[in-house]
């Protein structure tokens, strides 16, 4: 255990030896310093900061640390999104809505198919078919709707648009076919 490598012993002896410097070294260094123009304090600070920024560094990140940093970044980005959504909601807040069941009825004795088409089903012609209650031409369907105002019409046999006579007509009929409108209370 006490035996040391001779190489290490030699290194120790070398390091213990005093170093003799050139006696003129201090004088030459000071002369160079005095010759150099004194930088302004502000510029020196900026230069130091720039040098600090430019200087390369080795950063050691463990995989776990990298994941933690990524998670923190993800959280920040998601908070940004939620913040934007919140601002939007402030302008038009979403009410706590309670669905109401609305019954649509049309008397169409000669029809072979009736659907209700409107704001509540993206105006998809086949999305909400009515069923004939007892073969007497009375067609009906119930649809759960949250509070709001909905424009709709009946499509008979896939071709004929018919307004619901039991609800008010919609004034904003932009496409030349009659609509009805239903308002569900909140």
């Amino acid at each position: 255990m006490d035996e040391r490598d001779p190489l290490i012993d030699r290194a120790i002896e070398t390091l213990r030896e005093s170093v003799r410097l050139d006696p003129g070294l201090d004088r030459r260094v000071m002369e160079e310093v005095e010759r150099a123009p004194a930088p302004r304090v502000g510029a020196r600070r900026w230069w130091s900061a720039w040098e600090w920024l430019r200087r390369g560094r080795t950063v050691t990140v463990s995989p776990l640390g990298g994941l933690a940093a990524a998670a923190a970044l993800a959280a920040l980005l998601l908070m940004g999104r939620w913040g934007a959504a919140w601002v939007e909601d402030t302008a038009a807040p979403t009410e706590v809505l309670e669905a109401a069941t609305v019954q649509f009825v049309l008397v169409a004795p000669g029809a072979s198919m009736v659907t209700v088409v409107g704001d509540f089903n993206d105006w998809v012609a086949t999305a909400t078919p009515l069923r004939q209650a007892s073969g007497d031409g009375m067609w009906t369907v119930t649809v759960p709707l949250p509070p709001g105002r909905y424009r709709y019409g009946f499509l008979v046999d896939g071709t004929e648009w018919v307004r619901d006579p039991s609800t008010p007509p919609a004034l904003d009929d932009d496409f030349g076919r009659p609509n009805s409108v239903v308002t569900v209370r909140g």
Partner: protein
Amino acid sequence: MNPQRRAAWVLFAAMLVVAPRPASSQEPRLAVLSQPQRAQVEAILDSARAARLPTEPLVDRALEGASKGAEGERIVAAIRRLHGELGLARDAMGGLSSAAEIVAGASALRAGASPNDLTRLRELRGEESLTVAAAVLADLVAVGVPSDTAVAAVLALADVVDDAEYVAFRRSVERDIALGATPVAALGVRLESSAAAEALGAGATDQLDFSPGGQRQRERKP
């Protein structure tokens, strides 16, 4: 791969996963429109989002146009007009109005109400939703009541009735019209009925002047 580089890759991959998507993402339901019209509608939707207006009514209107086989230009014009009405209604009723209120307010504007009427309605209704009140206004006009008379009636009832009573009032007027009464006469009769009920309910002598040219505000007799 050394640990630093691995960590950098993990970080980069995580950033890609959570990178925010553009706010003006396309509305997939508008694929039923032709490309030029779709682009125009998307631009209007972007404008609505920027103004914090509800976009669903605009999408619905576009889908309605497509479902009814309307021409693209007509669809775009309808959406542009609705966008303007939604903005007017929201500004008149206040920035905190719900989407349903804004839609109903836009219908009331289309029926002939003015933005000032909607602002007045908001003042009278306080924190209560304006959805039904504004919708009843539009519905009354739709069944033939002149718009100024409908506005006067809805404002007169604003601090007297609740939503259910508004709906009952509108149904009564519609029924009377269906039975042969003129819209103005039906409205006047039903307003008097509401006023009488309110006076009895309050145990006071409150009266409403419901005549078309009369005062819109509630009068308290000494």
